[in-house]
Amino acid sequence: MPEGKFCNKTPITTDEQLKATLNDKGGKQYYEEMNHLEVDSEKLWGTIQKTMKSRLKTWLEICAHCGLCAEPCFLYQVNGRVPEQVPSYKIQATLGQIVKKKGKVDNAFMQMCMETAWSKCTCCNRCGHYCPHGIDMGVMFSYLRGLLYGQGFVPWELKIGAGMHRVYRAQMDVTTEDWVETCEWMAEENEDEWPGLEIPVDKVGADIMYTCNAREPKHYPEDLAEAAILFHVAGENWTVPSEGWEQTSLSMFAGDWECCKDNVANVYAAIERLKPKRATGTECGHAHRATVIEGPYWMGREDGQPPVPFLHYVEWLAEALREGKIKIDPSKRIKEPVTLQDSCNYVRNQGLKDVTREIISYLVEPGYFVEMAPCKEHNYCCGGGGGFNGIGKYREQRNMALRKKMDQILDTGCKLVIAPCHNCWDAIRDLEEEYEIGIRWTFLKPLVIKMMEVPEHLLPKDE
């Protein structure tokens, strides 16, 4: 059974493997090796028999082939409405065939499945609501991704991404030392402007524990500083864990379920160790989904809940504004048309549409907020969800996918987009780079910092 050096059925578990795979620029050798990768049909069918129960089996069986899932899929819309982009077709032609053939499929077929699973579906779950039978293609594609990952048919970046989580317990090579140092550095860096600013690491029994996205300490450390400033101004008794601070899960995009469990276990272990009353994470959609929505199940928690109440950042912020812990200076409210990007991962997947709009009501002068159409649970994916943003091989398809969001934003007439999700923020940045429509985009943290009233005693004293 030929397996490549980089492209194989074994997850990356060591630093050496990780570096070697990373050095294979663009996955050139990786994808070449993939052409010779053999399908282990027995294992494939065995996994399906063990894991494919009522829900998925019934969905595959009762799909009435009515085609109502076509129009709700933004990828169908932006790709010239070609029938090959009909969600039902995409899943029947891939997972449906694997099941029909009891796993006896070949390399070329698996590569077609890989392309479909990662470049023709972002697992945004929008189709689920439009199917009369309640068939959620996002769930099915996520399942298919797991099968493909187990066979080594996964895009190069996601194999690496899951490997990063396995080796560093973070989506990027940020070690515990790097992380703690970044916390200290950011506290020092901002302490002149914010006297008394702290980023308390491993404080036991705090009111709230904060976790983030490894991209922040790695590339946007100011995001961590901004979180600290807002907790500081809100007077929160907060902490970050030295281990278990990373709540993203590229492994969820990759379909590496074992690794997903490990990521969550790490965060939950921090909760058990530091015993905070509550936890919150950064402005990231998939991180929240991995840690809070799906995570409890990977951990086998029967109540489906994390060990302590775990809020998305928008929930924490809405609460801080509502309770007056953070006050917005009315003169600084946004007085230009502004729109909001609903992240699939916490709006369609956890019903957090109202709190985000509550935040808007504090930040935006009445009359200036413009909803995208459609919005809330009906909103479209940013165009880069489910790992799409990060896969070089499918960059062209991703750029095409951005068009839906571009049109939605253009239709609002707004030049400013609030995107409280890392992935959506990236996608909107990329769409501006690609299509130059003249928009700006922002997370909530920097916006609130610019607009809030800072209590006298927190201001720097004149020398």
């Binding site: 019934t58 709700p72 077709y89 039978h133 199940y297 109540d303 489906g304 997947n349």
Partner: protein
């Protein structure tokens, strides 16, 4: 022949058909797995049931779900087809005469004109279902011979029934054809995609519970999935 088809054969058909659908419902629930589905069904049953009911209602009340509002033409055809399909056989006078004879009770029956309209609604609806499969590329690509076969199985009792009712041709022949195609349709229910007669409710219930428990219901979202 007539006596056999409306006697023992009919009872076997009912038993297999309704018993089979019941078995499928039970099997569905037994095959749910809170860990694989990632839905905490048991501890959050009340949220789940609320979500399930909301989801089912949203899709059986015409124009309640967003999906149905966006496709008014399809929605009308879809409901016409299904209402005709379900209401006609149950409340048809001729069927209830048989019921009365066999069990000594009958259901309220439809006036002839109304029953005719319903039957035609089903037929015309079915015809549109066929036409859209041919006309729209997004439906054509997923349509298989099996989909057409199911439509034939479903519509055959209506075609034969109407021919017999208008007494076109040999009444006895069409009556027999009607009984046989009707029994084929009933027998197909548990074994084919027509099992959606019950599995539609199971699937919507499951997705409704998923959203009711995990994906918004417990955060107060009233979205009907």
């Amino acid at each position: 022949m007539y006596d056999f088809l409306t006697g023992p054969m009919l009872w076997v058909t009912f038993l297999v058909s309704f018993g089979g659908l019941l078995v499928r419902a039970v099997m569905y629930v037994r095959g749910l797995n809170w860990q694989l589905d990632r839905v905490a069904y048991r501890p959050n049953m009340s949220y789940g049931i609320r979500g399930a009911i909301r989801s089912i209602l949203a899709f059986i009340i015409p124009f309640k779900a967003q999906a149905q509002r966006e496709r008014p033409g399809f929605t009308i055809i879809f409901f016409a087809f299904h209402i005709g399909l379900l209401v006609t056989p149950i409340f048809l006078e001729a069927h209830n005469v048989m019921l009365e004879k066999a069990f000594g009770f009958s259901l309220p029956t439809l006036g002839t004109g109304f029953a005719d309209t319903l039957a035609w609604m089903c037929l015309v609806g079915g015809l549109f279902m066929v036409l859209r499969r041919i006309a729209f590329p997004e439906v054509r690509i997923i349509t298989t011979a099996y989909d057409y076969l199911l439509l034939v199985i479903t519509l055959a009792p209506f075609v034969t029934g109407l021919i017999a009712r208008y007494e076109m041709g040999d009444y006895n022949f069409w009556l027999m054809a009607h009984i046989i195609t009707g029994e084929i349709w009933l027998l197909s229910l548990p074994f084919t995609k027509l099992s959606h007669a019950i599995l539609f409710f199971m699937s919507r219930m499951q997705l409704g519970m998923d959203y009711g428990i995990k994906r918004g219901g417990m955060k107060g979202s009233d979205f009907a999935w």
